[in-house]
Symmetry: C3
Subunit: 243 residues, 3 copies
């Protein structure tokens, strides 16, 4: 059993954060809310997302799993205006999710959860350097780096946080001194990442005031942030730096 | 003889309502204003439109017909800014329409009215059920239905007005209870319509506060509305419901 | 040596005025500011532009030339938000231009000035008729003329300034009486110009309150205007009128 009411924009923003990596996903429903873990088809990036019961206007559920086509769900959610609520109700027998927005209602066919790629085990890495930056600033830096290259180095030095990208012709650098960071735990950290992934993620990152980056030396990047009260974590594998 | 001045946006919105169905049209000019009747190339939808002389800032005319390429006319009208007037003047000998917007003026070549498809006789149907809804709500419902199917059922029940669309995977429903309708004359009504046509019409419908729908059982749909003071009526043939 | 700080939008608007004609350009740097002269690949239009030292927030330079890829420069400048400054610094040994916007910085590779097409000698024509019009009005007229033809006649008569375009089907006319012109020196002037070029220029022209047009009889058109305090001059060759 699952019945819930949620602000349409909060749900839309949450779905968008996930659909930048995967098209289909298994939601785990419990009394505590909705949760999901997913890995992109190329095994480069993972996401975990928690829609706590408290984020909903109304939430009532018994444990269970549902498989959702995120492309279809986003498309239907696009009908909701800013400030509108979405009613969700699971039709367990019909394997359908009923969605209501104002006087409109949809019936969305669910996917058999066993047909969806298995949830990843998200490694519990202890990354040495932590940096907190504004989401809009991070988004702008990702866009800027894309103008010169496909890859970007992210690192932490004694002076603060930096990003570097070198193209065939031009190069890009971002430096945020420690005094301007929202948070810093210095540590030995410098890794190369694909801008494709960062770019897909950055639309969601740009909606967050504070984004926490956890970094190591040629190690994955963990990105933790909240959109409204929704907790989202990305984990992005490093690329090998070629000189 | 035909000389007139009209608010550019009113003329533009009127032309748009027509050009969703046909590219070329014959306007009938009289002392009372401009009128037209047209049927789309596939004989599925008709439009009748009345630009009453009172809608114009200035209007002087002797009876006559002119054939107009609506695509060209819309394109030229797009030059007018919001709030600007358009001056129209017929050059009968040259078979041209002169249009003036601010210091700009155009000469639009007219089409021989006899080369334009004959005006349809619009059937005088007595449809049993009448429903009045807001244009924006109707537009949103049409958009929503398009997300799941190419066709939509419109009907009237004891409870109010409804729309239903079933796709291969998902389905859509709109229900407006009688208490939320702007007007209702209940009657036996349920028919299937092509969303292509409704979608083309809905841009214009969305500009109207009140849209009157007249429906029957597997019968055409009459849609009556006003944009500013311009009276527009669509008539849309039903499709055969396949179960 | 060249070090400067300038409002990003002023620089962006200046670059845009030039990049409507050429992709690569040689800037001449001196104590007085930046200057350039360029001719388009088809030899139909020339531009000269002066970024006076006073336009900059900070300006320090010794004479020299730099070759710049305007497409790359515009792309990088697009990262700056409205109201932000850009820091520019020449790295003479590396043949690079360093650009800083907020915490972002770019290194733009310069082009060897000798590899860029030679600066044109801009002829010092004494054109008989001068007309001053608003940039937005001129831009609208160019757009309007494009709706009917590829070419437009510009001329000055006893009554004021006019533009005319004749298409295969429709025709366009603009008439601005002398009383509505911002300035007029009457003279014998009527020439035909390519709308392609005028259209490319008109985005920049539309940003200027006052645009001075200097015209003759089948003679080039000189267009002089300022964007903020940047002086820009176009010279456009006439086309031969075919009747």
């Amino acid at each position: 059993m699952f019945k819930a009411v949620i602000d349409a924009e909060t749900l839309r923003d949450s779905i968008e954060a996930v659909s930048s990596l995967v098209d289909e996903v298994k939601f785990t429903i419990s009394e505590r809310g909705l949760e999901l873990k997913a890995v992109d088809p190329a095994n480069v990036a993972m996401i975990s997302l928690k829609l706590d019961a408290s984020v909903f206007e109304f939430f009532q559920a018994t444990p269970g799993d549902i498989g959702v086509d995120l492309v279809r769900l986003s498309d239907l959610l696009s009908m909701a205006d800013r400030g509108e609520n979405v009613k969700l109700e699971l039709d367990e027998e019909g394997h359908k999710l009923k969605m209501g927005v104002g006087s409109l209602s949809y019936t969305l066919s669910l996917i058999d959860p066993s047909a969806i790629r298995k949830e990843p085990r998200i490694p519990d890495l202890d990354l040495p350097a932590h940096v907190t930056v504004s989401g809009t600033e991070l988004r702008r830096a990702v866009k800027a780096a894309e103008k010169v290259s496909d890859h970007v180095i992210m690192g932490v030095s004694d002076e603060g946080f930096y990003m570097e990208a070198k193209g065939d012709i031009d190069s890009f650098k971002l430096k945020i001194p420690s005094s301007e960071l929202l948070g810093l735990k210095p540590g030995d950290a410098r890794s190369l990442f694909s801008l494709d992934y960062l770019s897909d993620m950055s639309k969601s990152l740009g909606k967050s005031q504070e984004v926490k980056l956890e970094l190591g030396l040629d190690y994955p990047l963990r990105i933790g942030f909240k959109i409204k009260e929704v907790e989202i974590n990305y984990l992005l594998a490093p690329r090998i730096e070629q000189e």
